[in-house]
Amino acid sequence: MGDRLETCFDRLRTEGRAGLFPFVTAGDPDLGFTRELLPLMTEAGADGFEIGVPFSDPLADGPTIQRSSMRSLAGGTRLSSVLEMVGEVRADIPDTPLVLMTYYNPIIAMGLAEFVRGASRVGADAVIVPDLPPEEAGTLVGIMNDYPLEPVFMLAPTSTQERIELVTDVGGGFIYYVGQMGVTGARDALDSDLGATLGKINRVKNRPVLVGFGIKTPEQAAEVAGHADGVIVGSALIDVMEAQASREDKMRAACDYIASLREGLDRSKTVS
């Protein structure tokens, strides 16, 4: 596992805390904003980040991240400029895990080897490609093996025992567990099977599990954290920022929200 991810999960385990990994679409509304936001959210209690590369056809994403991606694309964000931004922000948050999340076609357009070299050079720790299941990832994973860049795969409530073993075997870094069937987006209620399915994964896992898709409130985050190593919160965070007009207000709202999730997570761990 990459050093930063491994160190981060080790520390969380020692401290008995659940990890908080916000997702942001890079370049929404512009890359300068994202560049400034990540260190602020680290101070507010984030343990690491998923940095989304906008794509014209984000088929795993719900309306919030679709809108966010379109705003970012309209501002001219490209995969190459996202990588540059990651390189810059790396200087401010040298120990924070940064996970790139991008659909496959932008990687194909850049060239697989060039992408892996670039991502690793700017200090990204892992890559998630939502439309690239392990069966199709052979070439990309093969290239990544030569770099300190972890391929992260997803599991879902529908995943069979066989697929749980496949993903655990092929993937690195952590397992991204999709806590809800369907696309990304904040939900009022979480899947009731969550605990049972995570139990299945925990029986074969040799890596940390982060749960994403659908988490909105500190209470939900705390509930999920009872079964996993941490949570990923994306759409709800973007919703919070969308509701504000100015850059300053967006950043303040994002940090307040992250702080509230942090508090919810820490409270639950103290109780248990």
Binding site: P63, Y104, N105, I108, D131, P133, E135, V178
Partner: protein, 405 residues
């Protein structure tokens, strides 16, 4: 332990590029389809409905006045326009609804561009009393209001898609999104030979009835195979359906006609095979229209059914291997062919099929120059009733223009 093996490849194309939520459903579908394919009862049931409900076999009609006009081509039209619902799409939707029933799914979803696939899906769902939701881009809803009403009349719900370019590709995204949430109860009937494995193969099998019949019929009529098979290519289902049973007949040229839109230089076209590059969209690796950053470029065509920035992976393989050839016809020429077939044969073709008809002019020219005569089987994939309203505006303008000149 399962292995990291990509399934459903046509040469280097195809595969299964989908979010993890869908992988188990695709595996289940692959197994169920494998079982159905080997089950005589499934084929018998399908054959019954194709015959009694769709009206198959469709005629292979010798278009005499069109052939006379072209001079050096003897053109047979495979009359998919005479299928129930007016296009070849029903061949696929009927077969897949039967499959959904085998899988125990109670709800059907589909995307639609021109609305033909939506109508065919709604029809097959109505036939068996299944719930049916159709996703359609807002842009296309405007262009094809009659088909929207038809789907509603058949008991389906039409859900407008407002994301992205509001056309077929976005409707496909939205249907896939629905499916990731509803896969336990719902079967997704993709409308073309695109998408993740097993869809391209399964839909090709369903549509191959076109080529199987045509092959038999032309042998009956001419005592030999045709020199060429011609069909329009959007996603590529009617063309693969015609081509596939002829693939091993090396002497039969296979020619796919893509939407040239406003011209390849204009960047407003649907010619992914002619002008695109290899990428991944909607679950498969294939030729696509995208920019230097990998962002998908919306396609354009006067015909909503060809307005798709990708193409079936099997076509990509047929192009790559040189077995089939792909050409383009622009909006303006397709409109002229729409009018020409109406006048010469009393057959109003769909805008999509009119692209294939238009290509015959170029083919006749080349054949004449080579001093040859050729027999051609052309897939008339659908009838043009759905396009008449749009044609009224466009053709009147064009005819007026030509009168002025």
């Amino acid at each position: 332990m399962s292995e990291m093996v990509s399934k459903g490849r046509f040469g280097r194309f195809g595969g299964r590029y989908v979010p993890e939520t869908l992988m188990p459903a695709l595996e289940e579908l692959e197994i169920a389809y494998g079982e159905a394919r080997g089950d005589p009862a499934y084929h018998e049931e399908l054959a019954y409905y194709l015959r009694e409900f769709v009206g198959r076999p469709t005629p292979l009609y010798l278009a005499e006045r069109l052939s006379d006009d072209l001079g050096v081509l003897k053109v047979y039209l495979k009359r998919e326009d005479l299928c129930h619902t007016g296009a070849h799409k029903i061949n696929n939707t009927l077969a897949q609804v039967l499959l959904a029933r085998r899988l125990g799914k109670t709800r059907i979803i589909a995307e639609t561009g021109a609305g033909q696939h939506g109508v065919a899906t709604a029809t097959a769902a109505a036939l068996f009393g299944l719930d049916c939701d159709i996703y359609m881009g807002e842009e296309d809803i405007g262009r094809q209001s009659l088909n929207v009403f038809r789907m509603r009349l058949l008991g389906a719900r039409v859900i407008p898609v407002t994301s992205g370019s509001k056309t077929l590709k976005d409707a496909t995204n939205e249907t896939l999104r629905d499916w990731t949430a509803s896969v336990r109860t719902t079967h997704y009937i993709i409308g073309s030979v695109v998408g993740p494995h097993p869809f391209p193969e399964m839909i090709r099998d369903c549509q191959s009835v076109i080529g199987r019949e045509a092959r038999e019929q032309i042998l009956e009529a001419e005592g030999r195979l045709p020199d060429a098979c011609v069909a329009c290519v959007g996603g590529g289902s009617n063309s693969i359906g015609l081509f596939h049973p002829f693939v091993d007949d090396a002497d039969v040229a296979l020619i796919g006609v893509e939407a040239g839109g406003r011209g390849l230089d204009s960047e407003e076209h649907g010619a992914s095979l002619t002008a695109g590059r290899v990428g991944v969209l909607h679950g498969c690796e294939t030729f696509l229209l995208y920019d230097d950053d990998g962002q998908i470029i919306p396609a354009h065509s006067v015909s909503a059914g060809l307005d798709y920035p990708g193409v079936g992976p099997e076509h990509s393989h047929l192009k790559d291997s040189g077995r089939a050839r792909y050409v383009t016809v622009e909006d303006h020429d397709a409109l002229k062919a729409f009018q020409k077939l109406s006048v010469l044969e009393g057959i109003i073709p769909a805008f999509e099929s009119a692209h294939a008809i238009s290509y015959l002019d170029r083919m006749a020219e080349e054949t004449r120059e080579a001093g040859e005569m050729k027999t051609v089987v052309l897939c008339l994939s659908g009838r043009g009733d759905k396009d008449v309203h749009q044609a009224e505006g466009l053709l009147t303008e064009m005819l007026d223009d030509e009168e002025v000149r």
